[in-house]
């Protein structure tokens, strides 16, 4: 299996197949960020694909100074910030991030109560995250899901470390208030999952 460096060099020579192999390696991570950021599955796909198109167009500027994923993540963050400014997320209000699979489908084995419970939980988490401001949401995702340091996030978002720390703290406080972890809520989710 070819390593990233070889695939990048081939992709820089306009080999689309090589670039698609790179995309297959990292598409899930980029899509994960986009789906938490966008709240909407269609927006998440559009945004993640746009990230790949931008990466393809800018690939000639990649100088192997950092890992490919670090470079790609920077493009992702910029795309997120640009979309925040341009009002890309026009389908606000639709929470279709969770697509419950029909039980009679070929993947019905995945529709166990535990999976459904997780999906319902995910829906409530995404809804809670969507209520954060865009900068709080991005700072939280980068800190919590990507494990970036406050300095790295501040550098990527072009703001101070203190702003990032405060944003993450406020995001967690809001999430804590929104995602009630009381036993009755958990029970309600479990019973709802069993109904499916």
């Amino acid at each position: 299996m070819a390593d990233d460096t070889e695939l990048i060099k081939r992709a820089q020579a306009e080999d689309i197949d090589a670039f698609c192999l790179l995309a297959e390696r990292y598409a899930r991570r980029i899509h994960l960020l986009a789906s938490h950021y966008c709240r909407n599955q269609q927006d998440a796909e559009d945004l993640s694909q746009e990230v790949w198109l931008k990466a393809y167009q800018a690939l000639q500027s990649f100088r192997f100074d950092s890992s490919f994923y670090t470079w790609l993540r920077r493009i992702t963050i910029n795309a997120f910030l640009n979309h925040r400014r341009s009002g890309f997320f026009r389908r606000q209000g639709q929470t279709t991030a969770v697509q419950l699979m029909p039980l009679d489908s070929e993947v019905s084995s995945l529709a166990s109560p535990e999976n459904i419970y997780n999906k319902l939980l995910f829906e409530s988490v995404v809804e809670a995250i969507s209520e954060l401001t865009a900068s709080q949401r991005l700072a939280f995702l980068l800190r919590h899901y990507e494990g970036m340091s406050y300095e790295e996030i501040a550098n990527a978002m072009n703001c101070s470390t203190g702003t990032v720390k405060k944003g993450v703290w406020r995001a967690i406080t809001k999430l804590r208030a929104r995602l009630s972890t009381e036993p009755q809520s958990q029970e309600a989710l479990t019973s709802l999952a069993n109904e499916y």
Binding site: R28, Y56, L175
Partner: protein, 214 residues
């Protein structure tokens, strides 16, 4: 001194970093509220971590996703190639388009007439360009006429009476009569009527002349 707000702000870092902070743990043990807050935040972050993988669509989703991406990439590649080839011949193509564009004869004639009229109007309103002035510094000697105020003193003839008074006899009487006739009368005021000053005045100062001369 225990500060609940400060401890709660540091809880996030304690949970996210996953590194034990003995000082903070000791503070949590002191305060039941802070300890409860720690548990709540920890549970929230555990929940978000738990559902993290749920956000990733099922494997059946990805082939179609990559097919769509490949399609978009192909379009980008084609467009980029077109731009690259188009950019190299762009000026030539522009000239060809302009020169060989089919235009109806009346329209072309009208355009030519309009162009000529415009050219004539432009020439009519155009003023001849003034020669550009060049500043050259040339030293020139200018003669300065210095005028002097010259006072010309005119003396009239005088006869000294002391001389004539010393003479005696008939001569002296005749001379006295003549002298008296020549002497100015009190009402005879000297005038400068008829005096014409010379254009050039030559002054000669004689040193050691009369003692009364100034």
């Amino acid at each position: 001194m225990h500060n609940c707000r400060e401890v709660r702000e540091r809880l996030t870092e304690l949970i996210l970093d996953g590194q034990p902070d003995r000082e903070l743990v000791a503070e949590l043990n002191k305060c039941a509220e802070c300890s409860a807050e720690f548990d709540a935040v920890n549970a929230t972050l555990r929940t978000t971590t738990r559902v993290r993988e749920t956000a990733i669509p099922a494997e059946s989703y990805w082939p179609a996703y990559h097919a769509r991406l490949r399609d978009k990439l192909s379009h980008v590649q084609v467009r980029r190639r077109k731009e690259n080839t188009g950019a190299s011949f762009a000026p030539l193509r522009l000239c060809v388009n302009i020169l060989f564009r089919p235009v109806p004869v009346p329209l072309a004639a009208g355009l030519v007439v309009l162009a000529l009229l415009g050219l004539l109007a432009f020439r009519g309103t155009r003023k001849p360009a003034a020669p550009q002035s060049v500043v050259v510094h040339v030293p020139v000697e200018i003669p300065v006429v210095q005028e002097k105020l010259v006072t010309q003193v005119v003396y009239r003839n005088r006869y000294l009476p002391s001389r004539t008074s010393k003479r005696t006899g008939a001569d002296s009487r005749v001379e006295n009569t003549f002298a008296k006739s020549q002497m100015p009368r009190p009402d005879d005021v000297p005038t400068l009527t008829g005096f014409k000053p010379a254009a050039d005045v030559k002054l000669t100062v004689i040193k050691g002349g009369s003692p009364n001369e100034k």
